[in-house]
Amino acid sequence: MTAKQNSHPDRDQMLKAIDSGRMPFRSHLERCEHCRLLYELLSCFRGQSPASLEYPSHRAVDRAAVIPVLVGPKAPLRTEVGRLVFDSWQHVPAAQLRAASRGLERRLRFSCRDITFEVVAERRPDGWEFSARVYRGDSPSCRFVLRAGRLRLLCDEHECFFWSGRHLPQKLVLLSSERQIAFAVSRRNPGGYQ
């Protein structure tokens, strides 16, 4: 930045003055509020820069942003209801395949306005293991807390929710500070799986 025609010191001159501890334009600063402000702020910021900070991932920030939803009592929000758009158990495979799979896995996909929510349930000897994910733009899973029964879950580093239980949940709820979306898990079971 070059010096102007008038006697205002430019930024370079101010930085030099700050570094050297000598201020040849002291009397100007006493008269000129604008330069005084600029000098004051440059003194504060000298050697510092916001660029010195490191930035965490969107996922990590989103997880911290939903902490009130995770731990606090939630203020009542209007509940949106998601609809089931796919249920692997409602697509009955051929009898032989059905016998082979024995309903060891169930895949569900829900939709609610801009949100797509997928759940995979896998049968284990002592119950079920679940994984779920929200799809929509940047780290959408982590913008929500998932309520599955009494559990409140945050997404993991792969932006998935993981949990286990003895039964398939009848209802899953995605919570954020602005939204509450409920998904009912259909009990219809045309495949006759247990």
């Binding site: 604008h34 600029l38 660029a51 490191e54 991932s57 996922r59």
Partner: protein, 182 residues
Amino acid sequence: MIDSVSNIWQKVLQGDDQQWSRLVRTLAPLVFTVARRAGLNERDAEDCAQQTWLALYKGRHDVKDPASLPAWLIRVVSRKAARMVRQRARQTEFGQEAESTSPTLLPDEELIRLERLGQLELAFGQLDERCRRVLRAIFFSPPELTYNDLAQELGMSPNSLGPTRTRCINKLRKILRNLGYL
């Protein structure tokens, strides 16, 4: 309209979750940076930051002065990170895999420097986008850049840069005063 940290914090205390989210987004880089400087890898630093935010939320009614928030966060995350680094070092001794580096505590001068950076970040976060761009250019671009260069970079006419700078500096100064920075 620029909302002061005090206002944001008051709303957080009244249960406004969106203001909490706003606060987190503003100060998350500061908390994460302290954890990283303490020697944690990215994943551990994110976990450490998460624990710190959780601690702040649970103890939010104990933080009376919003201007002390960056200092509070730095103190807590620094302690948690040091503990985590020690744990990782012990795991390494027992032959488990660990990516963390030197298990040293951050010196006080570095904590103070980070605290000032945090307040600066907080102040910049409260400026409108135009002022943020102008002031970052004024304060942090190389001294050899001329006004015309800066104006061109900012997509402004050289004549309007001066008045905009003055207006933005006044806003920033007001915010920094609120934060106790000046």
